[in-house]
Protein backbone atom coordinates (compact mmCIF):
# COMPACT_ATOMS: atom_id res chain seq x y z
CA UNK A 1 0.00 0.00 0.00
CA UNK A 2 2.80 2.40 0.91
CA UNK A 3 4.65 1.59 -2.32
CA UNK A 4 1.52 2.37 -4.33
CA UNK A 5 0.96 5.59 -2.39
CA UNK A 6 4.58 6.68 -2.77
CA UNK A 7 4.48 6.11 -6.53
CA UNK A 8 1.18 7.94 -6.96
CA UNK A 9 2.15 10.93 -4.80
CA UNK A 10 5.33 11.22 -6.81
CA UNK A 11 3.55 10.83 -10.15
CA UNK A 12 0.59 13.16 -9.70
CA UNK A 13 1.08 15.00 -6.42
CA UNK A 14 -0.93 14.86 -3.22
CA UNK A 15 -4.30 16.30 -4.26
CA UNK A 16 -4.64 14.27 -7.44
CA UNK A 17 -3.69 11.00 -5.76
CA UNK A 18 -7.01 9.77 -4.41
CA UNK A 19 -7.35 7.02 -1.83
CA UNK A 20 -9.33 5.08 -4.44
CA UNK A 21 -6.41 5.31 -6.89
CA UNK A 22 -3.95 4.26 -4.21
CA UNK A 23 -6.14 1.28 -3.28
CA UNK A 24 -6.47 0.30 -6.94
CA UNK A 25 -2.72 0.53 -7.54
CA UNK A 26 -2.07 -1.55 -4.45
CA UNK A 27 -4.72 -4.08 -5.43
CA UNK A 28 -6.69 -3.64 -2.23
CA UNK A 29 -10.06 -2.18 -1.31
CA UNK A 30 -10.53 1.40 -0.17
CA UNK A 31 -11.74 -0.08 3.11
CA UNK A 32 -8.39 -1.78 3.64
CA UNK A 33 -6.59 1.53 3.28
CA UNK A 34 -8.76 3.09 5.94
CA UNK A 35 -8.21 0.14 8.24
CA UNK A 36 -4.52 0.89 8.32
CA UNK A 37 -4.60 4.68 7.98
CA UNK A 38 -6.68 7.47 9.46
CA UNK A 39 -6.60 9.61 6.33
CA UNK A 40 -4.73 10.36 3.13
CA UNK A 41 -2.48 12.71 5.08
CA UNK A 42 -1.70 9.84 7.40
CA UNK A 43 -0.61 7.75 4.40
CA UNK A 44 1.64 10.60 3.27
CA UNK A 45 3.12 10.78 6.75
CA UNK A 46 3.95 7.07 6.70
CA UNK A 47 5.50 7.33 3.23
CA UNK A 48 7.56 10.30 4.44
CA UNK A 49 8.70 8.44 7.55
CA UNK A 50 9.60 5.37 5.50
CA UNK A 51 11.91 7.24 3.17
CA UNK A 52 14.05 8.35 6.11
CA UNK A 53 15.98 5.10 6.43
CA UNK A 54 17.27 5.54 2.88
CA UNK A 55 18.15 9.16 3.58
CA UNK A 56 20.05 8.22 6.76
CA UNK A 57 21.94 5.60 4.74
CA UNK A 58 22.96 8.22 2.16
CA UNK A 59 24.09 10.61 4.88
CA UNK A 60 26.00 7.94 6.76
CA UNK A 61 27.83 7.01 3.58
CA UNK A 62 29.02 10.60 3.21
CA UNK A 63 29.80 11.29 6.89
CA UNK A 64 33.36 9.84 7.06
CA UNK A 65 34.31 11.82 3.94
CA UNK A 66 33.29 15.27 5.12
CA UNK A 67 36.19 17.72 4.82
CA UNK A 68 37.05 21.35 5.24
CA UNK A 69 35.34 24.13 7.14
CA UNK A 70 32.09 23.64 9.02
CA UNK A 71 30.33 25.52 6.23
CA UNK A 72 31.75 23.07 3.68
CA UNK A 73 30.72 20.06 5.71
CA UNK A 74 27.23 21.49 5.97
CA UNK A 75 27.21 22.05 2.23
CA UNK A 76 28.08 18.41 1.64
CA UNK A 77 25.36 17.19 3.99
CA UNK A 78 22.68 19.33 2.40
CA UNK A 79 23.84 18.46 -1.10
CA UNK A 80 23.04 14.85 -0.17
CA UNK A 81 19.60 16.00 1.04
CA UNK A 82 18.83 17.80 -2.22
CA UNK A 83 20.06 14.92 -4.38
CA UNK A 84 17.98 12.50 -2.31
CA UNK A 85 14.69 14.38 -2.42
CA UNK A 86 15.01 15.18 -6.08
CA UNK A 87 14.81 11.48 -6.83
CA UNK A 88 11.14 11.79 -5.88
CA UNK A 89 10.63 15.53 -6.10
CA UNK A 90 6.84 15.63 -6.39
CA UNK A 91 6.55 13.47 -3.32
CA UNK A 92 8.69 15.85 -1.29
CA UNK A 93 6.86 18.89 -2.62
CA UNK A 94 3.56 17.24 -1.67
CA UNK A 95 4.95 16.70 1.82
CA UNK A 96 5.93 20.35 2.15
CA UNK A 97 2.61 21.59 0.72
CA UNK A 98 0.53 19.47 3.07
CA UNK A 99 2.69 20.46 6.04
CA UNK A 100 1.33 24.00 5.68
CA UNK A 101 -2.21 22.82 6.14
CA UNK A 102 -2.09 22.30 9.85
CA UNK A 103 -5.41 20.55 9.97
CA UNK A 104 -4.20 17.90 7.53
CA UNK A 105 -0.72 18.04 8.94
CA UNK A 106 -1.68 17.27 12.52
CA UNK A 107 -0.57 13.67 12.09
CA UNK A 108 2.42 14.36 9.89
CA UNK A 109 5.88 14.43 11.39
CA UNK A 110 6.67 18.11 11.60
CA UNK A 111 9.04 19.10 8.81
CA UNK A 112 12.33 20.23 10.17
CA UNK A 113 11.80 18.58 13.51
CA UNK A 114 13.32 15.18 12.76
CA UNK A 115 15.51 14.62 15.81
CA UNK A 116 18.12 12.50 14.06
CA UNK A 117 18.60 14.91 11.16
CA UNK A 118 18.73 17.89 13.50
CA UNK A 119 21.21 15.95 15.60
CA UNK A 120 23.54 15.52 12.63
CA UNK A 121 23.50 19.25 11.96
CA UNK A 122 23.90 20.00 15.65
CA UNK A 123 26.96 17.73 15.87
CA UNK A 124 28.47 19.44 12.86
CA UNK A 125 27.93 22.86 14.41
CA UNK A 126 29.26 21.73 17.79
CA UNK A 127 32.43 20.45 16.10
CA UNK A 128 32.61 23.83 14.43
CA UNK A 129 32.72 25.53 17.81
CA UNK A 130 35.59 23.25 18.82
CA UNK A 131 37.32 23.86 15.49
CA UNK A 132 36.89 27.60 15.95
CA UNK A 133 34.87 28.54 12.90
CA UNK A 134 31.56 28.78 14.78
CA UNK A 135 31.22 31.19 17.71
CA UNK A 136 30.92 29.59 21.13
CA UNK A 137 27.79 31.52 22.13
CA UNK A 138 25.88 30.32 19.05
CA UNK A 139 22.20 29.54 19.57
CA UNK A 140 22.36 26.01 18.13
CA UNK A 141 18.62 25.51 17.77
CA UNK A 142 18.20 28.82 15.96
CA UNK A 143 21.11 28.04 13.66
CA UNK A 144 19.61 24.63 12.83
CA UNK A 145 16.21 26.27 12.24
CA UNK A 146 17.79 28.79 9.88
CA UNK A 147 19.63 26.13 7.89
CA UNK A 148 16.72 23.70 7.71
CA UNK A 149 14.24 26.50 7.02
CA UNK A 150 16.20 27.92 4.10
CA UNK A 151 17.00 24.47 2.77
CA UNK A 152 13.28 23.66 2.60
CA UNK A 153 12.17 27.11 1.44
CA UNK A 154 14.39 26.84 -1.63
CA UNK A 155 12.19 24.02 -2.92
CA UNK A 156 9.56 26.58 -3.94
CA UNK A 157 11.85 27.32 -6.88
CA UNK A 158 11.50 23.71 -7.92
CA UNK A 159 7.73 23.81 -7.44
CA UNK A 160 7.15 26.91 -9.52
CA UNK A 161 10.20 27.45 -11.65
CA UNK A 162 11.35 23.92 -12.35
CA UNK A 163 14.78 24.47 -10.78
CA UNK A 164 16.83 21.28 -10.47
CA UNK A 165 18.95 19.94 -7.61
CA UNK A 166 22.10 21.52 -9.04
CA UNK A 167 20.48 24.95 -9.01
CA UNK A 168 19.13 24.57 -5.48
CA UNK A 169 22.42 23.19 -4.16
CA UNK A 170 24.26 26.11 -5.77
CA UNK A 171 21.88 28.64 -4.23
CA UNK A 172 22.03 27.01 -0.82
CA UNK A 173 25.86 26.92 -0.99
CA UNK A 174 25.82 30.71 -1.22
CA UNK A 175 23.21 31.06 1.51
CA UNK A 176 25.26 28.77 3.77
CA UNK A 177 28.22 31.06 3.12
CA UNK A 178 26.21 34.03 4.39
CA UNK A 179 24.85 32.17 7.40
CA UNK A 180 28.25 30.83 8.46
CA UNK A 181 29.88 34.24 8.05
CA UNK A 182 27.33 35.36 10.60
CA UNK A 183 27.97 32.36 12.86
CA UNK A 184 31.73 32.83 12.86
CA UNK A 185 33.45 34.05 16.05
CA UNK A 186 33.57 37.81 16.51
CA UNK A 187 36.99 39.28 15.74
CA UNK A 188 39.06 40.52 18.67
Amino acid sequence: MLDAARELFDEVGYEAATVRAIAKRAGVSVGSVFTSFRSKADVLGEVARERLSDLYADLERVAPHLRGSTADRCRSMFAVHYAFEFRRLRLFLAYIAVSFDWQEARHLPVMGSNARLRGMIRDCLAEGVVRGDVRSDVDLELAIDMLVGCYAWNYRLAAAGGADSVALTGLFDRQIGLIFDGLAPQPG
Binding site: V110, L142, M146, R156, R174, Q175, I179, G182
Partner: protein, 213 residues
Protein backbone atom coordinates in the same frame (compact mmCIF):
# COMPACT_ATOMS: atom_id res chain seq x y z
CA UNK B 1 -41.95 63.41 -6.64
CA UNK B 2 -42.71 66.87 -8.02
CA UNK B 3 -42.09 67.91 -11.61
CA UNK B 4 -39.00 70.01 -10.87
CA UNK B 5 -37.12 67.24 -9.07
CA UNK B 6 -38.00 64.77 -11.86
CA UNK B 7 -36.74 67.20 -14.46
CA UNK B 8 -33.55 67.74 -12.50
CA UNK B 9 -33.00 64.00 -12.36
CA UNK B 10 -33.22 63.54 -16.10
CA UNK B 11 -30.71 66.37 -16.47
CA UNK B 12 -28.03 64.23 -14.71
CA UNK B 13 -25.34 63.45 -17.31
CA UNK B 14 -25.31 59.83 -18.53
CA UNK B 15 -21.65 59.50 -17.48
CA UNK B 16 -22.80 59.37 -13.85
CA UNK B 17 -24.98 56.29 -14.37
CA UNK B 18 -22.23 53.81 -15.49
CA UNK B 19 -20.49 54.74 -12.24
CA UNK B 20 -23.42 53.18 -10.38
CA UNK B 21 -22.90 49.99 -12.34
CA UNK B 22 -19.16 50.02 -11.76
CA UNK B 23 -19.78 50.62 -8.06
CA UNK B 24 -22.20 47.70 -7.89
CA UNK B 25 -19.69 45.48 -9.67
CA UNK B 26 -16.98 46.55 -7.25
CA UNK B 27 -19.24 45.78 -4.28
CA UNK B 28 -19.98 42.33 -5.71
CA UNK B 29 -16.27 41.68 -6.14
CA UNK B 30 -15.61 42.75 -2.57
CA UNK B 31 -18.33 40.45 -1.23
CA UNK B 32 -16.88 37.52 -3.15
CA UNK B 33 -13.34 38.28 -2.00
CA UNK B 34 -14.43 38.60 1.64
CA UNK B 35 -16.25 35.25 1.51
CA UNK B 36 -13.37 33.60 -0.35
CA UNK B 37 -10.79 34.83 2.17
CA UNK B 38 -12.68 33.17 5.00
CA UNK B 39 -13.15 29.90 3.12
CA UNK B 40 -9.59 29.69 1.79
CA UNK B 41 -8.34 30.33 5.30
CA UNK B 42 -10.64 27.67 6.76
CA UNK B 43 -10.22 24.96 4.13
CA UNK B 44 -7.17 25.79 2.04
CA UNK B 45 -7.19 26.22 -1.71
CA UNK B 46 -8.40 22.74 -2.65
CA UNK B 47 -11.00 22.52 0.09
CA UNK B 48 -12.76 25.77 -0.76
CA UNK B 49 -15.15 25.43 -3.70
CA UNK B 50 -16.66 28.17 -5.88
CA UNK B 51 -20.08 26.84 -4.91
CA UNK B 52 -19.38 27.34 -1.20
CA UNK B 53 -17.81 30.74 -1.79
CA UNK B 54 -20.82 31.85 -3.83
CA UNK B 55 -23.18 30.61 -1.15
CA UNK B 56 -21.25 32.41 1.59
CA UNK B 57 -21.31 35.59 -0.50
CA UNK B 58 -25.05 35.21 -1.04
CA UNK B 59 -24.94 34.87 -4.82
CA UNK B 60 -24.93 32.30 -7.61
CA UNK B 61 -21.81 30.60 -8.95
CA UNK B 62 -22.57 32.36 -12.22
CA UNK B 63 -22.24 35.69 -10.49
CA UNK B 64 -18.86 34.66 -9.13
CA UNK B 65 -17.68 33.57 -12.57
CA UNK B 66 -18.78 36.91 -13.97
CA UNK B 67 -16.19 38.58 -11.77
CA UNK B 68 -13.45 35.95 -11.76
CA UNK B 69 -12.24 33.56 -14.46
CA UNK B 70 -11.85 30.64 -12.06
CA UNK B 71 -10.84 29.69 -8.53
CA UNK B 72 -7.14 30.24 -9.18
CA UNK B 73 -7.93 33.71 -10.51
CA UNK B 74 -9.86 34.57 -7.34
CA UNK B 75 -7.15 33.09 -5.13
CA UNK B 76 -4.36 34.94 -6.89
CA UNK B 77 -6.27 38.21 -6.67
CA UNK B 78 -6.56 37.77 -2.91
CA UNK B 79 -2.86 36.95 -2.65
CA UNK B 80 -2.00 40.01 -4.76
CA UNK B 81 -4.11 42.30 -2.58
CA UNK B 82 -2.49 40.92 0.55
CA UNK B 83 0.92 41.53 -1.01
CA UNK B 84 0.04 45.15 -1.86
CA UNK B 85 -1.18 45.78 1.66
CA UNK B 86 1.90 44.09 3.09
CA UNK B 87 4.14 46.35 1.02
CA UNK B 88 2.46 49.50 2.23
CA UNK B 89 2.68 48.42 5.87
CA UNK B 90 6.37 47.59 5.38
CA UNK B 91 7.01 51.02 3.88
CA UNK B 92 5.11 52.65 6.72
CA UNK B 93 7.04 50.66 9.33
CA UNK B 94 10.41 51.59 7.81
CA UNK B 95 9.65 55.30 7.62
CA UNK B 96 12.15 57.41 9.48
CA UNK B 97 14.36 54.37 10.06
CA UNK B 98 17.37 53.15 8.15
CA UNK B 99 19.58 50.09 7.81
CA UNK B 100 19.08 47.26 10.29
CA UNK B 101 16.52 49.24 12.31
CA UNK B 102 14.37 49.53 9.23
CA UNK B 103 14.75 45.80 8.60
CA UNK B 104 13.72 44.86 12.15
CA UNK B 105 10.75 47.22 11.95
CA UNK B 106 9.65 45.66 8.66
CA UNK B 107 9.96 42.14 10.06
CA UNK B 108 7.83 43.15 13.03
CA UNK B 109 5.19 44.74 10.79
CA UNK B 110 5.08 41.66 8.56
CA UNK B 111 4.83 39.29 11.52
CA UNK B 112 1.97 41.27 12.99
CA UNK B 113 0.02 41.15 9.72
CA UNK B 114 0.71 37.51 8.97
CA UNK B 115 0.01 36.18 12.44
CA UNK B 116 -3.32 37.98 12.43
CA UNK B 117 -4.24 36.11 9.26
CA UNK B 118 -2.08 33.03 9.66
CA UNK B 119 -4.54 30.60 8.10
CA UNK B 120 -4.74 32.64 4.93
CA UNK B 121 -0.96 32.93 4.81
CA UNK B 122 -0.73 29.16 5.12
CA UNK B 123 -3.19 28.68 2.27
CA UNK B 124 -1.07 30.95 0.08
CA UNK B 125 2.11 29.15 1.10
CA UNK B 126 0.58 25.77 0.42
CA UNK B 127 -0.43 26.96 -3.05
CA UNK B 128 3.15 27.96 -3.78
CA UNK B 129 4.17 24.34 -3.30
CA UNK B 130 1.49 22.84 -5.49
CA UNK B 131 2.96 22.33 -8.97
CA UNK B 132 0.64 23.86 -11.54
CA UNK B 133 -1.01 26.29 -9.20
CA UNK B 134 2.42 27.47 -8.06
CA UNK B 135 3.30 28.74 -11.54
CA UNK B 136 0.05 30.66 -11.89
CA UNK B 137 0.35 32.27 -8.47
CA UNK B 138 4.04 33.05 -8.85
CA UNK B 139 3.53 34.69 -12.21
CA UNK B 140 1.27 37.31 -10.64
CA UNK B 141 2.81 37.43 -7.21
CA UNK B 142 6.45 38.34 -7.10
CA UNK B 143 8.26 38.92 -3.84
CA UNK B 144 10.70 41.20 -5.63
CA UNK B 145 9.08 44.42 -4.31
CA UNK B 146 9.40 43.15 -0.73
CA UNK B 147 13.00 42.04 -1.25
CA UNK B 148 13.73 45.42 -2.87
CA UNK B 149 12.58 47.24 0.28
CA UNK B 150 14.84 45.09 2.45
CA UNK B 151 17.69 45.44 -0.01
CA UNK B 152 17.39 49.24 0.11
CA UNK B 153 17.75 49.07 3.90
CA UNK B 154 20.75 46.71 3.64
CA UNK B 155 22.42 49.13 1.24
CA UNK B 156 22.07 51.89 3.81
CA UNK B 157 24.34 49.96 6.17
CA UNK B 158 26.71 48.42 3.65
CA UNK B 159 28.45 49.62 0.55
CA UNK B 160 27.62 46.50 -1.43
CA UNK B 161 29.79 47.21 -4.45
CA UNK B 162 32.88 48.16 -2.48
CA UNK B 163 32.85 45.08 -0.26
CA UNK B 164 31.92 42.70 -3.06
CA UNK B 165 28.79 41.77 -1.18
CA UNK B 166 25.62 40.38 -2.79
CA UNK B 167 22.92 42.62 -1.33
CA UNK B 168 20.18 40.84 -3.25
CA UNK B 169 21.12 37.48 -1.76
CA UNK B 170 21.29 39.00 1.72
CA UNK B 171 17.88 40.64 1.39
CA UNK B 172 16.37 37.45 -0.03
CA UNK B 173 17.86 35.34 2.75
CA UNK B 174 16.53 37.71 5.43
CA UNK B 175 13.05 37.48 3.95
CA UNK B 176 13.31 33.70 3.44
CA UNK B 177 14.37 33.24 7.07
CA UNK B 178 11.37 35.26 8.16
CA UNK B 179 9.05 33.14 5.99
CA UNK B 180 10.62 29.94 7.32
CA UNK B 181 10.07 31.15 10.89
CA UNK B 182 6.47 31.96 10.08
CA UNK B 183 5.98 28.48 8.71
CA UNK B 184 6.84 27.09 12.14
CA UNK B 185 4.56 29.59 13.85
CA UNK B 186 1.37 27.65 13.21
CA UNK B 187 2.83 24.25 14.00
CA UNK B 188 4.71 25.29 17.14
CA UNK B 189 2.03 27.81 18.17
CA UNK B 190 4.56 30.61 18.38
CA UNK B 191 3.53 34.01 19.68
CA UNK B 192 4.15 37.26 17.83
CA UNK B 193 7.05 38.02 20.17
CA UNK B 194 8.65 34.66 19.45
CA UNK B 195 8.30 34.95 15.68
CA UNK B 196 9.70 38.45 15.85
CA UNK B 197 12.59 37.46 18.06
CA UNK B 198 13.63 34.51 15.89
CA UNK B 199 13.28 36.29 12.58
CA UNK B 200 15.20 39.33 13.83
CA UNK B 201 17.90 37.11 15.32
CA UNK B 202 18.24 35.37 11.95
CA UNK B 203 18.47 38.76 10.24
CA UNK B 204 21.09 39.85 12.78
CA UNK B 205 23.16 36.70 12.05
CA UNK B 206 23.02 37.31 8.31
CA UNK B 207 23.95 40.98 8.72
CA UNK B 208 26.74 40.14 11.17
CA UNK B 209 28.30 38.00 8.46
CA UNK B 210 28.00 40.78 5.96
CA UNK B 211 29.79 43.18 8.26
CA UNK B 212 32.72 40.86 8.31
CA UNK B 213 32.51 39.38 4.82
Amino acid sequence: MNQIAYGALSAVPTAARPNQRALAKQRTREKIVAAAKVLFAERGYEGATIRDIAKAAGMSTGAVFASFADKSDLFTEIAETEQRELLSSLREAAEGLSGRNAIFAMIEAAAERHLAELALFQAVMSALWTPGLAERVRRRLSRRPVVALIQAAVKQDFDCDAQNVDCTLIAELIWDSYAATLRRAAVDRLTLEQVNERACEAARTILAGTRRG
